[in-house]
């Protein structure tokens, strides 16, 4: 297990390093001068020159890359243009909002997806099974921003059941939860479908397994077999799925934050683009990428700990 963990960790470090390199290439190889982008069209040549020196753009490319790379690994992502605060501080300040939103999305998808998938598997081939199948595909297909807008339109603007804007009063947990319902639904709805399909498929596999047959032979009640002996195993692949899912939910969270005017990393980056706050954009992208890789790592390690076959095939 330790061997596997070290190898898997090494791979993650390599992926993050390479992602940093790619991001660096993207910034510096794509036409456009970051200094003039940051200062806007009215900046004088002298201002741009000063900005270039401040951003280290006057140095050779490899020095720039080395500074960016070592800085990024030690948590120094530069300063944001407007207030001069360290980028990492600004991003970490907004991160909890986004993580709460994603946790909300996961809650929706697990709370709805696992029972639906389980129900479909037990009633295999029935009308209900087909219905769950079609609905799963449908919610996976529809983009989250359409869900967000329609949810806003129906539940907040027309019916006025739920609030449309913001993350709720600080300190008032109930209010914050109410504000979380619609945005997290937009983030999690698609994953209800993924999880339902995944649970259904692995449930069907597990229900064929010999330990279930043994349990039946012992005359255990069907309920106990299904929920205690089959479902607990069938849920395992969902862990890996969620590891990948959180990356996509990060994307959906950007839309949900903008549509529902919630604070968070997505809103931060979106606003940073409008104000041409370039280092902030890069920094936020890097932080979310690291989170994504980290979550994948955790998911793989959990599965590796639970399933020895994964470890040996690595």
């Amino acid at each position: 297990m330790l061997n596997y963990a070290v190898k898997r960790l090494g791979l993650s470090v390599a992926i993050v390093s390479l992602a940093m390199f790619l991001l660096f290439c993207m910034i510096y190889l794509v036409p456009g001068d970051p200094a003039s982008v940051a200062l806007g069209p009215r900046a004088t040549e002298a201002m741009k020159e000063a900005m270039r020196v401040r951003m280290g753009l006057d140095q050779p490319v490899w020095v720039q890359f080395w500074n960016f790379f070592t800085g990024a690994w030690t948590g120094d992502l530069g300063e944001e243009v407007l207030s001069g605060r360290p980028v990492l501080d600004v991003v970490l300040e907004q991160l909890p909002y986004t993580l709460v939103l994603i946790a909300g999305g996961i809650s929706w998808s697990v709370a709805l997806g696992i029972p639906l998938g389980c129900w479909a598997a037990i009633n295999r081939g029935s009308f209900a099974d087909r219905l769950v199948g079609i609905l799963s595909v449908a919610v996976i297909a529809v983009p989250s921003f359409v869900v967000a807008i329609y949810a806003l339109l129906i539940f907040a603007v027309t019916l006025q059941w739920l609030p449309a804007i913001g993350a709720g009063e600080p300190g008032d947990v109930g209010d914050q939860l109410v504000h979380l319902i619609l945005p997290s639904l937009a983030v999690g709805l698609g994953w209800v479908g993924y999880i339902a399909r995944m649970v259904r498929a692995s449930m069907l596999e597990v229900l064929e397994a010999s330990h279930i047959r043994t349990a039946r032979a012992f005359g255990l009640p069907e309920r106990l077999i299904t929920y205690r002996y089959a479902l607990t195993i069938a849920i395992l692949p969902t862990i890996t799925l969620l590891g990948i899912g959180i990356g996509q939910m990060l994307s959906s969270a950007v839309f949900a934050e903008i549509v529902f005017a919630r604070p968070g990393v997505g809103k931060l980056v979106y606003d940073a683009i409008l104000t041409r706050n370039f280092p902030l954009v890069t920094g936020a992208v890097l932080v979310t990428t690291v989170i994504f890789v980290l979550l994948n790592l955790i998911a793989d390690l959990i599965v590796g700990a639970l399933d020895p076959r994964v470890r040996s095939s690595f």
């Binding site: 390599a14 992926i15 996976i140 983009p143 921003f145 399909r197 996509q248 990428t289």
Partner: protein, 274 residues
């Protein structure tokens, strides 16, 4: 094809897709309104016989904008999928047939590419390149290529040690010929099915970027920008948001139902991917 028509879900998906394609192709015949013509006296009209989906905050006919927006969506879907496939095939063949160290390096590269959340990548890229249709296509390529290249690589590795390839090698065929004549035809089938299943994702990326103002520039109609107009005016009228969201729902459902059915019919081995 006949089996596809026997599946009700596939047939339903096919009709939705055809509906949108025909609407986009014959947009000029189906409506007499110009999608970009501003008409301040007719702002915020609800659906009526004259304006099937109503009008937006500038008095533009929404039905006409939706039909013309379909052209943008389909154009992006076709062009960017074709380019991603071409790049993905070439990179995948290199990784699969080339030396081991190159393979490892490229796999790492693909994984790193995939570790950026899509929207974050789009936001970062557009900050530099500026919003345009080209930026959208670029984002789609960056998102799609790693996945396609990986599939081609896996298939290439599986095929490269098979007997007919060894036979071709022993007869002195060049590497280029082996790749083109012997390996590529075996790789392309499953790849095209997967690519067609990705089309709704591509359309969603275009609409999403245009929604954020990172894609098509106004006044060009795109489903995403109509949706954004609707979002801006959501307290004024629901019709703009409904008009922008509907075609996105129709096309993504259509392509997904069609793709699922096609996959089950043609390649049962791929069942349960994702």
């Amino acid at each position: 094809m006949r089996r596809l028509l026997r599946e009700p879900l596939g047939l339903f998906g096919l009709s939705l897709v055809l509906l949108v394609i025909l609407g986009a192709v014959f947009a000029d015949l189906l409506t007499q309104w110009d999608p970009t013509r501003i008409n301040p006296r007719d702002r915020f009209l609800g659906p009526s016989a004259a304006h099937l989906l109503g009008t937006d905050q500038l008095g533009r006919d929404l039905f006409s904008r939706v039909l013309h927006g379909g052209r943008i969506a389909l154009y992006v879907a076709l062009v960017s999928t074709a380019i991603s496939l071409a790049i993905g095939i070439v990179l995948g063949l290199i990784a699969g047939y080339g030396p081991r160290w190159l393979d490892n390096l490229m796999i790492l590269l693909f994984d790193a590419m995939k570790s950026f959340p899509t929207v974050m990548l789009a936001l970062a890229l557009v900050t530099i390149t500026g919003p345009s249709l080209t930026s959208v296509i670029l984002v789609v390529i960056l998102v799609n290529v790693p996945g396609y290249a990986r599939i081609v690589r896996t298939q290439t590795i599986a095929i490269k040690s098979s007997e007919f390839v060894t036979a071709a090698q022993s007869m002195g065929a060049s590497t280029a010929r082996i790749l083109r004549v012997h390996i590529m035809p075996n790789v392309i089938g499953p790849l095209v099915i997967l690519a067609s299943m990705d089309i709704p994702v591509v359309i969603a990326i275009e609409a999403g970027m245009s929604f954020l103002g990172l894609g098509v520039r106004p006044p060009t109609p795109s489903w995403g920008s109509i949706l954004n107009d609707g979002f801006g005016q959501i307290r004024e009228t629901p019709w703009i948001a409904i008009a922008g969201g509907l075609p996105i729902i129709i096309i993504t459902l259509g392509f997904t139902f069609l793709g699922e059915t096609l996959r089950d019919v043609f390649d049962p081995r791929l069942k349960g991917r994702g």
